[in-house]
């Protein structure tokens, strides 16, 4: 049984089990859940849909994982998604003939740059002024949506530019383009944090910023760039959201995304207390959240009621992470938990 023990001790094990359980449930109760067809030259089916819809959350979760690893939080990512979508839509323009006002690449780069700036603003507040992360990012989460609405003149901008749609709706090798974007970002982030000492530095800052500073780590800069990176991820996520629905709605784009993304990170095994992070876990976490949502929809439950289920999942996962809860449950069975 040694192999089983080593397997269960891997951090990625439990998130994967949760995903597998959800999948099994669907296998039995949702007809045609796993059916994948080839339509119009690409794969089509529930599973593909899950991957496609999870892409924006996966990007957000990627940035948030690093932020949470430093014992921080970024609740402004939903608003940054709206800003990024708004900026790109305004630069492209709602021309009915599909002629963009500015080159598409230019619009996308500016949108991402603005998002990185937004992230840097957060980073400056946290690292230089020393505000608590939740307050620092609260500012942008309140003001950001206003900025997005002002940028789009408080109108929903519809886009008719075909080539731009590829990011959210296109397919390569039968798979959604967005998932390749996610994969690319994931690989880059994983390499940067795990093949260099950067990941260790981030974790060190999360455990004890003062100690990290004495160990020669520039804690302030690490914090600053982690938030900037979260802004970058949110910006790319905003482009995909905008391209998927081909419109930018400053009011609703990315609404509540920060909560789903935080949930994905926590489900993936990254503790909100900082000091440890699991990028792969966060990716699986985002898939779990999306699979759960899709499953609920498959039962014809109104989308909003799905929130009740998600709330219960958050509650259960949090309880399982609580030492007090585990000792309480173990107490019921007459066992003692070793911390």
């Amino acid at each position: 049984m040694a192999w089983l023990k080593s397997l269960t001790q891997r951090r990625i094990f439990w998130p994967l089990v949760a995903l597998a359980v959800l999948m099994c449930f669907n296998l039995f109760f949702t007809p045609h859940f796993f059916r994948v067809e080839v339509k119009e030259g690409h794969l089509y089916g529930n599973v593909i849909d899950i991957i496609k819809n999870a892409a924006p959350f996966m990007l957000l979760a990627l940035g948030l994982t690093l932020v949470i690893a430093t014992k921080g939080i970024d609740i402004s990512v939903g608003s940054i998604v709206a800003i990024s979508a708004g900026v790109s839509a305004m630069l492209l323009g709602g021309d009915l003939g599909g002629v963009p006002k500015n080159p598409i690449a230019f619009a996308m780069i500016i949108a991402v740059l603005v998002s990185v700036l937004a992230g840097m603003w957060n980073g400056m507040l946290v690292s230089r002024i020393g505000m608590q992360p939740i307050i620092a990012t609260l500012i942008l989460s309140v003001a950001g949506r206003g900025i997005a609405m002002v940028a789009t003149n408080a109108m929903i901008v519809w886009l008719y530019i075909k080539p731009f749609a590829i990011w959210g709706q296109g397919y390569i090798f039968g798979l959604p383009v967005s998932i390749f974007v996610v994969a690319g970002m994931f690989i880059l982030t994983a390499l940067a944090t795990r093949r260099t000492a950067l990941g260790l530095f981030i974790e060190a800052v999360g455990i004890n910023p003062t100690a990290a500073r004495f160990a020669g780590i520039n804690a302030k800069n690490i914090l600053f760039w982690v938030y900037a990176f979260s802004g970058l991820c949110a910006g790319i996520s905003g482009l995909i959201v905008c391209s998927t629905v081909m419109s930018a709605d400053g009011n609703n784009a990315g609404l509540g995304y920060e909560l789903s993304a935080i949930l994905a990170v926590v489900l993936g095994g990254t503790s909100l207390n900082g000091g440890k992070f699991y990028l792969m876990g966060s990716m699986v976490g985002a898939l779990i959240v999306q699979t759960l949502t899709t499953t609920i929809y498959a039962f014809n439950v109104p989308p909003e009621i799905a929130k009740v289920v998600i709330a219960l999942v958050v509650l259960i996962v949090s309880l399982l992470q609580s030492f007090n809860f585990r000792s309480m449950v173990a107490g019921l069975f007459g066992k003692k938990v070793v911390a």
């Binding site: 505000m131 307050i135 309140v142 002002v150 009621i305 958050v314 509650l315 030492f323």
Partner: protein, 338 residues
């Protein structure tokens, strides 16, 4: 009695907020005809009564160093429950009010219990509460429920003249009552003392033998109760229940608390400050309406900017206060390490 000239630095943020409010009113009165009137001032309370009630509950939670993200959804749930019980079940209004208030209290207490007993972050648990209550709104109904109950209509349209023909609504009276209770609890009761003690240093509060766990659970209950009451006031304001009410209102509430001078690190803050914060929030909206060309979304940008300004100011005060301490601490740590 404290002398009036010597200002306690703790009261400084509240005074800044009050000053800001006065300046905004002077600017508005000079720039726009018809801005300066007693009724316009009362309207500020009428339009923001629910926000003030939410703020009172939130202030206590934040002073202990916690946070309650569920208030916006709780308000929406309360409007849905009220309108559905009145219209669909045909309940007597006198039965509806206690049931709705009890539901808010119960949800708040439950969240507080989980946060306290299992030592979980308030942020996550109240986030779950946010989702849960929003979802439960849709379980009641997906559509707007209009309230045609006669007693409720009468209460909503009631006007209480204060000076001359200037009036306030029933919601304002309820809000003021909550404010008075809030100020009384925070200043003159054991619970109030315990709240500040927990925010100052929870460990010390426990060692002093204060009922920390009980107080914290009670405060989340109180915040839930305030949110339910705010929902009832909201139905008096809109005469309907709708599941999308109060989206992002938790952020607005936290903003008014911060603008009111309450520190999010806990330990410092006042209910009175929160009222001023709510009034500043309302005044920005009124100014933008009077200005006419800016769209309403500038309110959010202005609020975001104010939150930044106040947090920045608070950080400066803190930095000045702890600078001396920090230098000693760093020296000690360095000495120990070396």
């Amino acid at each position: 009695m404290k002398s009036l000239i010597k200002i306690d630095p703790r009261n400084l943020p509240v005074l800044v907020t009050l000053g800001l409010l006065v300046v905004m009113w002077i600017v508005g009165s000079v720039s726009f005809i018809g801005f300066f009137s007693l009724q316009n001032f009362f309207n500020l309370f009428i339009d923001n009564a629910y926000l003030i009630i939410l703020g009172v509950g939130m202030t206590f939670v934040i002073i202990t160093g916690g946070i309650d993200l569920s208030v916006g959804s709780m308000l929406a749930f309360s409007t849905m429950l009220t309108s559905s019980l009145l219209e669909k079940s045909g309940w007597n209004p006198w039965a509806v009010v206690p049931v709705v208030l009890a539901s808010g209290l119960a949800v708040g207490l439950f969240m507080g219990y989980i946060i306290q007993t299992f030592e979980l972050p308030p942020f996550i648990i109240t986030l779950a509460g946010l989702y849960l209550m929003r979802g439960l709104c849709y379980v009641i109904s997906i559509d707007t429920i209009g309230i045609s109950n006669q007693a409720w209509q009468d209460a909503a349209h009631a006007q209480f003249n204060i000076i001359g023909n200037n009036f306030v609504s029933l919601g304002v009276l309820i809000a003021l009552a909550v404010v008075v209770v809030g100020i009384f609890i925070s200043r003159s009761t054991k619970v109030g003392r315990t709240v500040y003690a927990i925010g100052g240093n929870e460990q010390s509060a426990i060692l002093m033998g204060l009922p920390v766990a009980r107080t914290k659970i009670m405060l989340y209950g109180f915040s839930g109760f305030c949110a339910a009451l705010a929902g009832i006031v909201f139905t008096l304001y809109t005469l309907s229940g709708y599941a999308l009410n109060g989206q992002n209102m938790e952020m607005d509430t936290i903003s008014t608390v911060v603008i009111g001078g309450t520190l999010l690190t806990g330990g410092v803050g006042s209910v009175l400050g929160t009222i001023f914060g709510g009034l500043v929030y309302g005044t920005i909206q009124v100014l933008i309406v009077f200005q006419g060309t800016l769209n309403g979304w500038w309110t959010r940008i202005a609020i975001g900017f104010l939150v930044f300004l106040f947090c920045f100011m608070q950080r400066l005060f803190e930095a000045r206060k702890t600078k001396g301490k920090k230098e000693i601490k760093a020296a000690t740590v360095a000495a120990e390490a070396g």
